[in-house]
Structures are given as C-alpha cells and as structure tokens.
C-alpha cells in the first residue's frame, strides 16, 4: 500500500526532496531482460528539471544507479533497486516554507496527517518522488516492448485553451520529442511555448492535458471487476502530482452521445476482431480488446507562483506567502515521461497477471 504500486510487477518508491536521495525497488520483473543504466537514464533526462526554458530550472543531473537485481547485464528476477542521489540540497536554513503552508500544496495536509513534515522542497510530496516511478517505468516499457510487443507513448495535447489534434494511432515518439513542450502538433506547440513563456513572465502558471497511448496490447489484459484496466490506469494517473482528472476513450465527451451514436461496432478485419470506431479506448468491461488504448490526464496549473498569496502559518495564524526562487510555469512536458511510466507499470503488471491466470 501507500508507497507500493502493482501486484506482480510491483514498485516501491522512497525518498524526500532533500534527503539522501530518491529511489525505487522493482519487484517481480521477469529474469533475463537486458538492462543497464543506459535503458533508464534517457527517461530520467526527459523528466529532469532544467531541461528547457519552459520548466523549472532546478539543477540536478539525476544520474541513476542500479544497485541490485542484475548480473552481467541481465535481470535476475530479484528486486531491482535504483536510486538517484540528491545533489541540490541548497541551504535553506531559513525558509518561509518551514513555517507557512503553501496554498494548494501538500504542506498543510502532511502536517495534519503526520504531525511532522520535511518542509525543504516539499519533502515526500515533491515531484522529485516521480524519479523512482520513471526509472521503474523505463524497465516496464522495455519489458513490454521486448517481450509483449507493446508500445507506450504520451504527449501534451492541451495547455490551457490551446488544444492540439493528436491521433493515438499514428503518434510517434520523434514527434513528441521534436519540441520542448512535447506536443506533436508543431503549430500548436509553438503557441503553447509562447503561452507558457508569457505565464512565466507574469509569475503565473498553467495546466493542461497529457494524452497517454498504448499500442499493441493484445485482447484479454485487465481483470474484472475492480482491477479493470481503466481503473488501474485511472488510479495510476491520479496518483501523479497535480493530476485532477482522467478519462479513457470517449471519456467525458461520451455523455453527449446516445448509445446508438457511441457504440463501437465489431467487424472481422483480416481474421481479427476489430471495432470500426474506438470510443471504448481499447478497453471493454475492463479488459483490453486489441484496439489502441488512449486516455487523457488533466493537470492543474502549478501551485507555486511568484505572487503574494493568503495562507496560514504553522500556528494557524493568517499570513501571506510569496513564491521565490525557482519557478516552474508548466509541469506538462515533464509529466509526459511520468504518464508513460505509470502506463507501462499498469500494463506490465496486467501482462503478468494475465499470464498467471490464463497463460
């Protein structure tokens, strides 16, 4: 529970923003998968702060080290421990964060729950925790690709009111990585970047949508009734910092259609059962139907802004707090590898679960 995700392909993350480091233990990975740090580091680099002008400038190299679970370049079937040392432990001996709760952050709720919190950098609630997820997700992506032929992708599809048209069937990683906002629609991407820079100049921030895609999932993954694919994907995405919503396939837009307009007709296409449309988003009754899985994740605007805001202090007295220092106007480009990672973790788990019961 709590800091563990998955049942058969299962990860446990640990670490605070300013402690010794952050890391993850991956348990249940099948043996004999070729794996080294070179398979992990690229996704950590995509997640890293400071990679472009539109994300937080926090400077960390975030170099991953595999501590266990591999031998001569292959996984052993034993726990894969990976970690990244914390480097940017800036002296914050005096910080308003120690005594005031940042609005729409987790400072107050951690204090209310535990009676203590690691205030520097947000402690456990820092997005730095997602390093462990992204590292583990890189393993899951490799497993899915090499053993099951499944491809995982994600991209930014909306920033505030700027919407890109993205086709889950044809989305390519190269298009995602072709610009710093990770939106495959070049024209809209340019507008998004401009908008984010404007918000940064205003000391403000934006939210938006990340689209997640899984292609090549065979029919039959996902377990009724509680561990439906969409339920596990939803939980995975809603466990990401700043996420506020999730929908799959037609999602919230489904409600404007009638059943007649919405249903996906089945057809035999080349000997395989296909649906003519894919409003189901690749999942029916909680189980994959062989079509492309796609879903949206809504991220709220970043809570840290460079404006004075009303809040209370540790003694619950009214006060104000103004963000200072590093300002991250938009988490979306960095959320893309997080969404990929969580998608891969859900699917790797269900791949093994399906094999266990029906293999």
């Amino acid at each position: 529970m709590a800091n563990t995700f998955g049942h058969l392909f299962r990860i446990t993350t640990w670490g605070e923003s300013h402690g010794g480091g952050v890391g993850v233990v991956v348990d249940g990975c099948p043996p004999r998968l070729a794996l080294s740090e070179a398979d992990i580091q690229p996704d950590l680099d995509r997640r890293r702060p400071g990679q472009s002008k539109i994300v937080t400038p926090r400077k960390e190299t975030d170099t991953v080290q595999i501590l266990s679970g591999t031998f001569e370049g292959l996984t052993l079937g034993t726990p894969i421990a990976m970690w990244v040392k914390n480097e940017d432990a800036r002296s914050e001996a005096y910080s308003e964060m120690a005594t005031k709760f940042r609005p729409s952050h987790a400072d107050y709720t951690y204090q209310a729950k535990y009676g203590i919190r690691a205030w520097p950098g947000g402690g456990r609630s820092s997005a730095r925790e997602t390093i462990g997820r992204v590292a583990a997700g890189a393993v899951a992506k490799k497993l899915l690709r090499e053993r099951f032929g499944v491809e995982i992708l994600a991209c930014v599809s909306q920033v505030q009111n700027l919407q890109a048209a993205v086709n889950p069937e044809t989305l390519q990683l190269s298009a995602v990585e072709s610009n710093i906002v990770r939106c495959p629609d070049a024209a809209v991407a340019a507008q998004m970047i401009q908008l984010i820079e404007q918000r940064r100049a205003e000391g403000d921030s934006v939210g938006g949508i990340v689209l997640g895609v899984a292609r090549g999932v065979p029919p039959g993954w996902g377990e009724p009734v509680f561990d439906r694919l969409e339920a596990d994907l939803g939980k995975a995405m809603l466990s990401l910092p700043a996420s506020k919503g999730f929908d799959i396939g037609s999602g919230f837009n489904a409600i404007r259609l009638t059943g007649r307009e919405h249903n996906d007709a089945f057809r035999n296409v080349g000997g395989r059962v296909r649906t003519l449309t894919n409003r189901s988003g690749g999942v029916q009754g909680g189980i994959s139907n062989g079509e492309t899985i796609y879903f949206r994740v809504a991220f709220k605007p970043v809570a840290t802004i460079m404006h004075e805001q009303e809040t209370v202090d540790a003694q619950f007295q009214n006060t104000t707090l103004k963000g200072r220092g590093r300002h991250d106007p938009c988490v979306l480009p960095r959320a893309v590898p997080m969404v990929e990672a969580m998608t891969a973790l859900v699917l790797a788990d269900h791949a093994l679960r399906h094999r266990a019961q029906c293999g």
Copy 2:
C-alpha cells in the same frame, strides 16, 4: 486483486447474472457496529432494476441476507458475508447472446481473456455484480457516519447536455430522492426524465454524470504516494460498469485557469484551517484537508439499444444483432447508490489506515 477492493476495510464480490446469486464478503469491519439487513436493504432497493419507469424493468426483489459476521445485532469483527439470490433466471435456452458479441459490451473481451463466458445476462460483467458493492457500501456508510461523523452522498448532475447546478456543501439526500432521476435540481430533473423517456421511445440510451460528495472527512486521510484519496476514489469509480471518466474538485476545468486563479488560499476560520475556495475538492497532495470532497464520474450511454447493430459471432464472422427484451435507457439513477457505496468503501478503508499509522 481483481475481485477484492480495499486493504483494511476490504470487500470481495462474487456472482454472475444468472448463477446461484451474487454476494460479497466484507472483511475488516470494526466490531460492535449495530448491523442488520434493514441497514442494507434500502440501498439495494435504490440500486434495483424496475424501481421506476426510466430504468431497466428487470424484476428482482434483491432481498439481502447476512450470513455471517454479526451476533445479536452487532458486528463481530469477523467477515460479514451477504448475498442476494438470483430469481430472474429466465429460460434463455435460445439466445443470440450465446453466439454473438454485443457491441460495446464485455462479451468479446471476456471470451478473449478466458476462452469461456457465462453469456446469459452478461455473466460477471452484468451490473448485477454491483449488488455486492452496494451492500458492502451500506456497511461502510454506517461505519463512517456513526464512528467518524462522515456523510456520503451522490446525485445525477448531468444527462447528455442537461446540466444541473448542484452545490456539494448543501446537497441533501431528501433532494436526491425527491425524483426518479435522482437529480436534486427539480426543474432540470423534469427535463432529464423527459429526455430519458424520449430516448427509450427511440430505442436509444443516454449517459451523463454522477456527482459524488463526502462531507465531514477530517484532515489527514489518504496516503501518499500511490494511495492518494483521489487515486483510490478514481479507481473505485472507474471500476463501475459504464464509467469512462473521473475528476475531482476543479478537475478537467482546472486546465483553463492559471495557478493564480486556481489556488485555494488558506485562512484560519474559527480556529480551524480552511480554504477560501475549494478547487482542490477537499484533497491536497492526496490527503484530505477537511473541506468537502466532491468529484464527478462520467458514464457512457447504455450499450444495449433496440436497434440492429453490426457485430461478429463466436466464429468471428460478421453478422448483426438487435437488442430485445428489457431496455434500460439510463443507468444513472441506479449508479447513484453505486457511487455512494464505492466512496464509502474508499473512505472507510482510509479511516482505518489513518488510525493504524497515525492513530
């Protein structure tokens, strides 16, 4: 996994649409809670088909029986087994459902996964499975109300394009139950009912939104990092049949605001830490902050319609299928007790989890 939900307040449901019955085992309920069938039956009656003209006419009394876990009217701390016998096992000796996959149902995916399926009534994928959830949810609601002072509510807030204005702070059960569509806004409810009747007449169906509300949750429930309240609520809701989306607080609407517009300022109100707005939906960093929790669940239009549709048969040959018999144009009124139940199950679990670690 799979058919079990929750960690400390934990349920396992079982049963197919046309087998011996459907039921649930509730494990982990605290002892000495007054409990009898009279606490369970009302919610089952609200979930039951045939309760009004706008839902499916399937005739079942759905009378619950408690088989274990209580003694002299009090819970024992041991598993509470409850079940409802299947009564409506109509002879369907000849049925197209045995040989054809209903579009946008789970027939094909169950067959693909298991190589077998209980086709009568949809088997395990039937909404009848939710009887166990609703029964267990009634126990959880009682526990939350009597031991923790928490109130759970839900209502229909949208049918296709008809949107009601509902205030989570003031929503009352009596208003929800004042009409058959379970929308507290009487004027919009009347329109909704009219729309649903029209769709039924057309042999078609509608979807919409159920709003879920939890009031009185103290600060501190929910566990970072994976078992955030919103993640567990999201999973719970997305495990309901026909659900396609979930968002909490400002949700998908958050993305149109800037951080400055979106943040919830803290204020000391009468000695308690409160937020002036509640775009967070009562949860920050995955942990309750003492404000009202509210969220939306999107349900697609019912897949069974009275029109001929393209599909394939068990041999993957193209064919058509026309719905016949019972027609449920709108699942939303019956989804209201389901959403309440799943909300209660998540919160009862987290109430116990919080007490375990921080109590």
Copy 3:
C-alpha cells in the same frame, strides 16, 4: 489479510459455527477447469464430524453448493463462491460458554480483541471455519493434478507416543483411507485407534502429527525471500486450529546432524538433477528442487475435555467449567484433509506465481 489466503490463487473464508453458514470465495482460479460439487464433497465428507467413532459426533451433512464461477460445468475465471448451510444450530439458550472462557480455547482472546464474541460453538474460532478451506483446497488439488501433474497427500503419522513409519515417496491415498485414523501403517493405526478410544473413555484427548506430502512439483516453484515455499507452507499449517508446530524435510531432527551428514548431494539421474538424499524436503533456498516435498504438522491435544477445569467468567471472576455434550478426543483424522487443502492452496498459488514471472 486476515480471512484471505494466497495471492494469485486466493481464498476468502467466512462464517461462524452457528450463523447462517460457512463458505469461501476462490478468486484467481484459471478458466475452463471442469468443476462441480462432486469434486468438492468427498473432501468435505472426510473433514466432517461424525464420520467415525473416534471423532466428534456433531451431526452435519455439510453439503456444499457452488454459487458462482462456473458455467456448464467449467470454471469461468471469475470468483467461485461455495457454501455449506449450518444445520446443527441447536438451541443453546442457556450455556456456560456464554459466560465462561474455555481453557486453551479462543473464547478469551476473541473477547479481549473484539469486545464481543459469538460464543455458540466457538463462533469464528470453530473448526467449522475449515469447511471453506477444504472446499477451496479441493479445487486447488484438481487444478494441480490436471494442469501441473502435482499430487497432494497427507496422513496421520503420530498420536501421542505412537509413531508410524511413513515413506513420502510411496504414500497412497488408498492406504490413508484404509482406516479411520488415516494412518497408512495398519499395525500402528490399530494401536492409535485403541489409544484414542481409551482417551475418550477417560474424557480426555490426544494430539499428534500429520504428515503432508506433495509429489511431482517441478523445480522452480517458490519465491525468495519471504514467500519461500516452506515459509508459506508453514504459515498455512500454523493457521489451522490446534496446530503448534511445523517442520520440513529433516526439520527439528536436522539439528543433531553435522553439515557433512546433512547435505543432499546432487547427481544427474537420467538427465535430471536429483538429490541422493532428501533432507531438504524438496525445497532449497525457498524454491522447489523437483524432489518430493514433505513436512510435519504438530497438533496439540483437543482442548475440550470432559473434566472440570479452572477458568474465569466474563467478569474475570474465578470459576470452573466442565465440558459436556459432544466430545472430540482426536482432531487428527479430520485434520488430514485440512492439511491437504492448505498444501494445495499454497502450491496452486505458487504455480501461478511462477508462471507469471518466469512462464
């Protein structure tokens, strides 16, 4: 937890001695296994009270009913719910058990834990709870036999000081079932029966040892480091009522040997890796090595005796209590199917777990 056992082949039992019934939900069973009540009932009959003169005369037919999870005689992959109705709910309106704690029973500890207990028949702590285990174990045994070629057996090998010589390699069910004490050594069995009858005549009771055996387990089942086969088998056996000890292979006798005397040498026998001796009991490093798995379970003498004993009442006042009514001098013959069931549950779970990670 608590009332659930197993991870992938997973059971949840419910029921008190005198409530509506006792039952089990089996989740995770692979689909398309032929299954009907006829596969379950024989083991329940072997577990049933009143089957011979040396066990408790409680009269119950214990007729099992499968409520879900099968269709046309095959498992569906969905939860298999099974139950046995309680019939022997004798009026015990006045019973000393309601107000006094039976020595070496669970009356006091249940009361201390929960502040309430179902005193008739011992409630949840009654051996009647094992009906669910035995029913589920029958499914697991069938799965292991038909899909994995694994055979599960158990027998009584010791009653008080009477020890039988049993060879795990050659033990046969027919020999076990050839006498009412379920000891394959006919000569010792006769002495055991005589001893048990003598103890019954004295109003006293006996304990002993049940030997468990699994043959045909391939190399590779079991998971380091916590879910070693012997750890999971040990937990399974120690969760049975009245069990006090468990050892595997050489077990407690291993400590008298030196390493040189104890080690099992490896040899290539017909192309397979075998051990010349089997002091390891078929498990090395927590993982099966292909040899026969065998272990011992120690059961204490039955706590209910027909003598006056010192105890306290519900107000913690000193008093005495004398057993009356049904007297079960020896639980061992009925424990044999329980040990088989728990063995099968552990191995079925690990069979699926192995397939998931390494399949």
Copy 4:
C-alpha cells in the same frame, strides 16, 4: 509478495551478495519516532560476519545509512530507506561456484527457476540479504518498545545435542550477549563454543535452535483466521535462511500430553486474566492472550563445509566440489538478531493492524 513482508508495517528488501549493496525500504512506520543510524547499527553489528571466532570471518563493516523517511531525527511517516554498501567484492573471476551447484544451497533452484543466477557469494540467497531485515527489525523493536511496551529477545538454546535451559520469562539481553554463542546458560554456552570450534577444525558445521521471546504483548493482537500470530511468526522464521522448523509454546512436545495435561487454566491474578501455565506460548486462537510469547526455530547445519562433495555442474554433469575460503561453522549466534528482527516485524505489523480494526 516475494520480497515484501508485512501489511501495515511493511518492508521490502533488495540486494545480492556482490552487487552494489543490500538494503530495505520500511513503509508504514508511524511518524515522530526518534530514529537515527545509531538505533540500527548495533543490531547489524550483532548480525555481522567476523564478530567472533565461531562465525564466518567475512570482513564487512556493514555500516548502515538512512536515505529517507526521517527529518531532524524523527520519522516522517514516509518510507524509510536504509542500505549497506557491499565492500567485500573480492575478485572471484575464477570460481567453481560459477559452474557447479553447491549441495544443499540454493544455486540449483535459483538456476532452475530463473534461468540465471548471480553466483558470486550466492547472490540473493546469501545471508547478506538479512541485513535489510535486521535494519528494519531494529526500527520495529524501537517502535514496539517505545509505543507499545513490548520487549523482543532471542537466544541460542541448543547446538546439536547441547541443550540449555532458558526461561522466557526471565531472559535478559545482557545474558544473551555475555558470550559469543549468545546462549544465556554460561555453562552450556562454554560447551557449545567448544563443540563449534571442534566442528570448524573438522571442516564441518552444526545446527541448532534459536528461542524467540516477546514480552509485554497485550491481549488481542493477531488476526483470525489466516494471519494468526503463530502463523505469521512461523512464516517469518521459516523465511530465514537455513531454518527448517518452528514451534510455539509446547510445540512438538505438546503431542505427548493429553488435553487434561496440556490445557492452560485461567485465573484472575490481580485483576488481570492470566493462565497458570503457558503451554499456549502466549497465543490462543491466533490471538495474544497477554502471556509471554515464546517459540523455537530450528536451523540446519551450515551447508558450506570444507570437504569434497558430490554435485553436478551447470551442464548437469556429475562432478565434485570442495568448499574453500571462508568457513562459517555455525550460523546460530548471527541468527539471534535475525529472529529478533522478524519477531519485531510481525508484532509491529499486528500492533498497527489491531489498532486499525479495534483501536
């Protein structure tokens, strides 16, 4: 599963004998417990090889580092990651272990299961894995002592045929630590040491018994029906390397007594319910009864001996193998802190579980 133990106080260990290191993540520890490396290191020193002349001379300082989960000397309620770097990675470029399976070790079964193994030092099956357990156990012991008044102890009570008389009620840590074999009976301890030295001189090894004790556990911990205290303790102990058996209270000796001889009479002693004898070992019906919990763990003789033994190589060809280098004639003194750690982990978990459901 597998590398995770516990439900609410939950640990995940990782690491191979010769990889980057070994470690543990402790999840679920309550917040605001004073904790630093100084609380952990002493138990690691007791577990460490090379601490005396009768255990393995492998030279490792095993210095623990806490990487997360504490802030200013207090636990945060977040995961506590701890690790020990591997230092003794001696070049074993040429080793027979790479190509031959050591008898009664886990080399063959790991290879059979995973198709790969980290042969240096035994990889994951090395006793080095228990570093994580002992570190986590030190946290659990502190929690139990400071928050629940529970004391955990263990000692060596038998080496081969040399049996010490140990009273669980009066056992003291100082007596355990007064000699290198960790047996509180000084006279027998001297004999044990002499025997172990003799076996070492012979290139052979011994096994024996470790007694585990928990004092001060209140009535009510432990959960029927599967997670009985003795079941969870049994699993914990049987998950330790080289353990072959477990019994609690009267254990295997119970079987020689009749029920009349064996039952523990209840008496009111100073207002508390006590038992006059404690053959139950502090647990009845799976739940603690307030008496001292005590149990025995049987360890087989160490498998590595300095004699040539028959075995097979990686190609399953018959060959021989002779142990060389470091020789550990007796694991028992080092097993004492392991037994303490596992006992503490089980009880900390059940302390929280009891509080969750009945608190």
